[in-house]
């Protein structure tokens, strides 16, 4: 069950127009820049995939990664928690011009909705957002004297994630705070595509130290020296 793909271009080759795509990372940590850029390359070469819905905590920074996807005009909608960043012009311009949709989700609810999708839990109750405009139209209920909002799972067609170690059957670890949404998105997408810095044989990761078991990963590609989003943003790189 070798899930290895040799290039990032091949790894993202079957993402179609209109796909709902989860992209791991929080700010620059754990962002699969090479997979994102491969997707942008495909769009520039073929016009596809377009009308993508992207799920991420943020809405891109600078002129690389998700921000470059938005700038390129591939993104129809963002589902995220914090699109307003220090360097988020790409999203801001499109949003204020009415050219991109936004579903704003509290960060913990976003994480839990993604986890619920992976865990087969169609809905759950959370105290988060009760009584706020982000809960408008959602069912509410009292448990043990406290009010809660019902939230639905959030699934995706694809997840693009970034890990540290990986093996050919899809087991993965993550580097420090680069873990963030990556293991959750791996569970919640119909097809999960992972880039890892080190790709080894099965058994190369201690079974006790696997963070994402291979069952959640469909394709894995080695990117030995991955770019770091934050570094690219700080050095003003434009993709």
């Amino acid at each position: 069950m070798d899930k290895t793909i040799s290039t990032v271009a091949e790894a993202v080759a079957d993402i179609p127009d209109g796909a709902q795509v989860m992209i791991g990372g929080f700010g620059g940590s754990g962002a699969p820049i090479e997979l994102i850029h491969a997707l942008i390359n495909r769009f520039r070469a073929t016009g596809s995939p377009k009308n993508i819905t992207v799920i991420n905590n943020n809405a891109g920074n600078g002129y690389i990664g998700i921000a470059a996807m938005i700038k390129a005009g591939m993104v129809k909608k963002m589902i995220c928690s914090f699109p307003r960043s220090s360097n988020a012009e790409a999203f801001n311009e499109k949003f204020l011009a009415g050219e991109i949709e936004l579903e704003l989700v509290p960060q913990g609810t976003l994480a839990e909705r993604i986890r619920a999708a992976g865990a087969g839990i169609p809905a759950f109750y959370t105290p988060t957002s009760f009584g706020t405009e982000l809960a408008e139209g959602k069912p509410t209920e009292e448990f043990d004297g406290k009010m809660y909002v019902r939230e639905r799972w959030l699934k995706a067609d694809f997840a693009l994630i970034k890990g540290q170690q990986g093996d050919t059957v899809g087991n993965m670890t993550y580097r420090m705070a680069g873990r963030n949404f990556n293991p959750l998105m791996a569970m919640a997408a119909a097809k999960t595509i992972a880039q890892v810095s080190e790709l080894g044989e099965p058994g190369s990761i201690d079974p006790q130290q696997v963070i994402t078991p291979g069952i959640f990963v469909d394709a894995i590609v080695e990117v030995a020296q991955p770019q770091q989003e934050e570094v690219l943003v700080r050095t003003g790189v434009v993709y």
Binding site: R115, G118, A119, G120, G203, I205, V210, P213, I215
Partner: protein
């Protein structure tokens, strides 16, 4: 035809397990229920790469260790000692049942007291006496892409286990998609039993006589052929 004796000429559990094993696809993730279904792993066809999940939190386990070499922290859901294949992983129970409920398994195979033609399964208790115990059965019937059952076709008394409506307490509603019995292979589609294979010596009439609901056909009914020496 009349020389076929349902109680004597039926398949053994090993033969049923062998047949079920032939349908396990290369590259699939599979959970085999405690007991009889576990036997299926022994008959996994050559050249197929199958990853076994056990709900207590192991993916990618292998054969039982030699006696005396057991490590009792390395067990399956039946509390039997196991070994690990390369690429195995450990995880906690909530993650393990996320794999189950979340639709990540390709196949779950369970035993049965009764299966109804609409896919209802009863396999966890037969009445209200004794100590009830459910374990992971009610979870396993949901989420796997295919939920199959291995079972004798009839009870020890010769009564049907494939029925119109389950009379024993249910494990899950409309969940079973294929049944491997000691006499036949039957799919459940649209609330009906669809006969796919039956033992060559057995007539349709004889099979229907020991089945509690109508057997339908949809195309050819193939011979159910398994190795004799199991």
């Amino acid at each position: 035809m009349s020389d076929f004796n349902i109680m004597e000429d039926k398949l053994s559990n090993a033969q049923i397990a062998w047949r079920a094993a032939q349908d396990i696809e290369d590259g699939s993730y599979v959970n085999l229920g405690i007991g009889f279904p576990e036997m299926i792993a022994k008959f996994q066809p050559e050249g197929r790469d199958v990853t076994y999940h056990t709900e207590n939190g192991v993916l990618g386990f292998g054969k039982a260790p030699a006696e005396g070499e057991e490590d009792w922290d390395l067990i399956n859901a039946g509390k039997k000692a196991i070994t690990l294949n390369p690429g195995a992983s450990f995880f906690h129970h909530a993650d393990s049942f996320s794999m189950v409920r979340g639709g990540h398994l390709d196949l779950a195979v369970l035993g049965a007291y009764q299966v109804a033609q609409n896919g209802d399964l009863a396999n966890w208790r037969v009445g209200s006496k004794g100590v009830p115990a459910v374990g992971g059965a009610m979870d396993l019937v949901h989420g796997a892409k295919r939920v199959a059952v291995v079972t004798d076709h009839v009870t020890k008394d010769g009564g049907p286990k494939l029925v119109k409506t389950c009379t024993f307490p249910l494990t899950g509603v409309g969940c079973v998609t294929r049944i491997y019995t000691s006499l036949a292979v039957i799919d459940i589609e649209g609330g009906k039993f669809i006969l796919r294979e039956k033992l060559p010596g057995l007539t349709m009439e004889a099979l229907q006589a020991v089945t509690g609901a109508t057997l339908h056909t949809d195309g050819d009914v193939l011979d159910l052929i398994v190795p004799e020496d199991l």
